[in-house]
Symmetry: C2
Subunit: 251 residues, 2 copies
């Protein structure tokens, strides 16, 4: 645990934000960056498993994931839970709730997570003073909706094996794009229970299907890493089309 091995404890200025150096994110101009810097109100820090946003309460903050993994979820009163999507660095948290009629979903940390925090109250002034950033917020909302659309297609129409293939490719690509990979594959802190909850499957069936794909040599999960040994076969199975990706706005 040498402190130097950790990312900077709290990036003092958005100008120096290491996320912005990633090609995945679209550049912003000076003035926008200064506004974001001023809008930001410190950081939030959460342990793995902690609740970032309770499912049935409305908070006063919006967040951007700075580091770590989290997920959004909804559940039924008898405890059945559905993971809606996974949140990685750069993802914005709280938008749906901001505009929802009452509470809408919960957010939970999957790993230790650090977040840049923004007061909900300031969102309107963001639109007013920097319409371009308002445009970006909409962009982020639409991007997330696209991801959920794809998941809904999976859960509604794909078989268990197809769903799992889809999820593995999807998360692999997202993590890879953020530079969260090395020779051993991409970082993958997702348990089988989480996969089951995200895909509308039971834990047992998820395990068996995952095992089957692994034995077929398609992929491999070990030590919190995911490796795709045969991405083509996975893509074919999932009916997945790799598209050139635009750079994502980062608030």
């Amino acid at each position: 645990m040498e402190p130097t091995a950790l990312p900077p404890p709290s990036p003092p200025e958005c100008q120096n934000c290491p996320l912005r150096e990633l090609h995945a994110f679209a550049p912003v101009d000076e003035a926008e960056l200064r506004f974001i810097e001023a809008y930001r109100s410190g950081m939030g820090v959460f342990e793995a498993g902690q609740t970032i946003l309770p499912e049935h309460a409305t908070g006063e903050w919006l967040y951007t994931v700075y580091e770590g993994w989290a997920f959004r979820f909804k559940s039924l009163s008898d405890g059945r839970r559905q993971i809606l999507n996974f949140l990685l660095p750069g993802d914005f948290i709280g938008l749906q709730e901001q505009f929802a009629d009452g509470a809408s979903h919960g957010v939970e940390a999957l790993t230790p997570v650090r977040l840049c925090r923004f007061p909900k109250m300031g969102l309107w002034s963001l639109y007013r003073e920097f319409p371009s950033l308002g445009y970006d917020v909409t962009w982020l909302a639409a991007r997330e909706e696209n991801i959920i659309d794809e998941t809904l297609l999976s859960v509604g129409r794909r078989s268990a094996a197809e769903r799992i293939a889809m999820l593995l490719i999807h998360l692999y690509r997202r993590a890879e794009r953020l530079g969260m990979h090395d020779e051993a594959g991409v970082v993958f802190p997702v348990s089988q229970q989480h996969i089951a909850d995200a895909l509308g499957l039971s834990l047992v069936h998820t395990n068996k299907t995952l095992r089957r794909l692994q034995k077929l040599g398609l992929h491999d999960v070990a030590d919190g890493r995911l490796r795709l040994h045969n991405p083509r076969a996975l893509e074919r199975l999932a009916d997945y089309a790799d598209r050139p990706l635009r750079r994502i706005p980062l608030i």
Copy 2:
């Protein structure tokens, strides 16, 4: 087909838009209304069953549903189809696609549909000149995502009967709020095949489940109308919580 029985063929001015008289929609100020009026570029008219937005092409228009029902969908290359959500008057079409990496979903008319048309190109100037309208667009996007979140919970975790109960209540409330009802119930132009496609079920099982709920006296579909005979029981079955609804922005 007497012309007088139809709503005005094309509302000449947004100021006189009958939709705006509904309590469901939030009021806008004079200047905003004038901007919307100027931004609007005529109407689109589609027959039932026609494609409003092809699944694999990007158009140049955004739309607001003025009259009729439509739905968004995605499909797999072997033809399996998932309906993502239903579109009713006031719903905005094209946002996800505007920000998607390539094509994302298709939109099809369920009934004869009329749409107010807006050029995609002008969206940015909407944000720049009327940030409040930009804010409203984000609102609409977030609202739609909330609806899809709920559907994902349904398809992932609810049983067939629970899903159907959920969908019936949801669509009933939406249509009712838009004044699309009378003594015989709300307008309901959705076939069993559509219900099946929206809920990730087979047509046969949808039919049998629908029939079962009907025989239990929970609801009734006849002549393109939906009636809820026992809304409470349906709500209990679906684990649905009725919430006070905010007024929706209308672009």
